[in-house]
Amino acid sequence: MPDPGTPTSQQACFKCLRCGGEFKLSYTPGKVEERSCPSCESNSVRRLKPAPAKPAPPAGG
């Protein structure tokens, strides 16, 4: 069982700023890891933050 205080790793979307490719890699919040693009091996890999949730449409017509 992981320590409840330890952030667990999750899959996150990344974009390579060199070749423009987008891909998923494991990501642990707060942990700094060396990452490279699986296609061009560049380290200019930026995590794409999930878009903020859209506000719910107002009720009624």
Partner: protein, 604 residues
Amino acid sequence: MADVGRHPNIELLTLAQVTKVSGHVGEFRVSVHQRARHVDVRECTACGDCVKVCPQLKPDEFNVGIAQRHAIYQAFPQAIPAAYHLEVADCLGLNPIACGKCATACEKKCIDLDEQDRDLEFEVGTIVVATGMEAFDPTDLKEFGYGHYANVTTAMEFERLASSGGPTGGEVLRFSDDRRPKSIAFIQCVGSRCEKPGNPYCGNICCMNTIKDALVLKDHWPNIDIKVFYIDLRAFGKGFEEMLKRSRELGVRYIRGIPGEIEEVAATGNLVLHVENTETGRLEKHEAEMVVLATGVQPRAEAKDLQHLLSLQLHTEGFLLEAHPKLQPVDSPIRGIFYAGCAEGPKDIKESVTQASAAAARAIRLMSQGTIPAESHTACIIEEKCTSCGVCARVCPYKAIEWEKGKPARVVQAVCAGCGTCAAECKFDAIVAHNFTDEQLMAQVEAAMADRPGQKTLVFACNWCSYAAGDTAGTSRLQYPARQALIRTMCSGRVDEQLILRAFELGAPMVLVSGCHFADCHYIDANRQTQKRVERLWDKLEEWGIRPERLHLEWISSAQGQRFAKTMQEIEEHRARVTRHEIAETRRILKQKRLAKAKAKKHA
């Protein structure tokens, strides 16, 4: 061991744990918690009278649990000091005394049941870390049946069985029926060179240990049938190939292939190994009366605690990382701390002794100097500017910055290695990195961008890896577009956000920050701060309407000349696509931001 115990200049602290280390080379302050032994080591003659009356039995750690010991015991026959030790956790109780038979039986009255643990403090000049490793536990590898079948054992258990000082007096006996096996199968690489469960690296010692065991068995019982299942045999080193050859001549069979499954024959306790022989390509079955798993080695569970205690760095495999794998293999990145043995990586006895001798020599050399020259490019604090925010102390990989809320921070010059991360992270320009000051670096940026900036990529390269990779590319005559202006810093951690923004403001189409790969960082983990800073800057640039794609980050080691050339080639393609309009717009945005910041600072 005995020499160490007798040496007048060596104080041996057993049952002790280091709890805190502070200070720096020449002046380390070490706190140690020493558990009570409850036996006076000066009086105890290890006669064994106390052991005879002790009613408590526990698994014997030295014999990896295949024998038992009493609550009062000697860890192993050659242990130093040669005295017994009462393990309170295994005793019936000391508070109140539940048994006390050992104290009564001791004629010399050297057992003190009231002895208390002690906390000690020392000042030392250097530290040698020799905390060893531990064997891989194969219980989770269900295909081998360890813990399930009685006659499947590990190399460590076998070692104790075959030892004349072991629980069976050197008789190799099966656990199921105490009978000597007529056939033994060894399986190599158990928990080594495999990812899950196990470790991806080679255990280093297992092949030769198996060959040694096979030779011992053949020496004692020439007719014993021995088969070794392996991926490949690594018998490198002086005399090792000859040992392998000799074992083959004595009839040891080597079968290339690791069994995928082991079954037990219920009636006999024998084991059937199912294996694909990768030399013949056939599936084979082999029966053996005993199976020995040549388990690999792994870092001790406490390695991470030790890493934090001494501000060291761990290799991806979990062993302690050396300052340089080729040129400083016994030095840690912290001055005055050295490694000996398997704490740094799996190695055999000969290698461990070699490294220990080297570590001792390194420590002596350092201490005999009497004084230690500080690095020329250390950091220092401008007290008037320091706001006591503590960021510098938090990011310093060497813990070289002393900081207390409300007081200006202070850099301990003997500890600072000069990475400059603190100077790059200080928002108040309160830190000067000698020889790499803000003014000096800014002047370099401005000089580089003074002429045709739109035609250039500004590259910040760390001294040890990426700058050296540029040299490697050059000496290898690798071709790449010569449109880079290179600025060298000791570490990529020194590359201040302001330097990058200034380069863009002066018209740089592209900026590259490059440093060592994470495992190679010459300043422990300073380049993690670089990555964090660049990630923050990507967000900031995007927010301001500047494409983050114009700022690149690359880890290039000194040997990667090809990678350096490829990176420059590809960044040049990016540079060519940055339009004049985009550069002008960037300059306008950044100038506006800079002026607004200056105005806000003036009003504050």
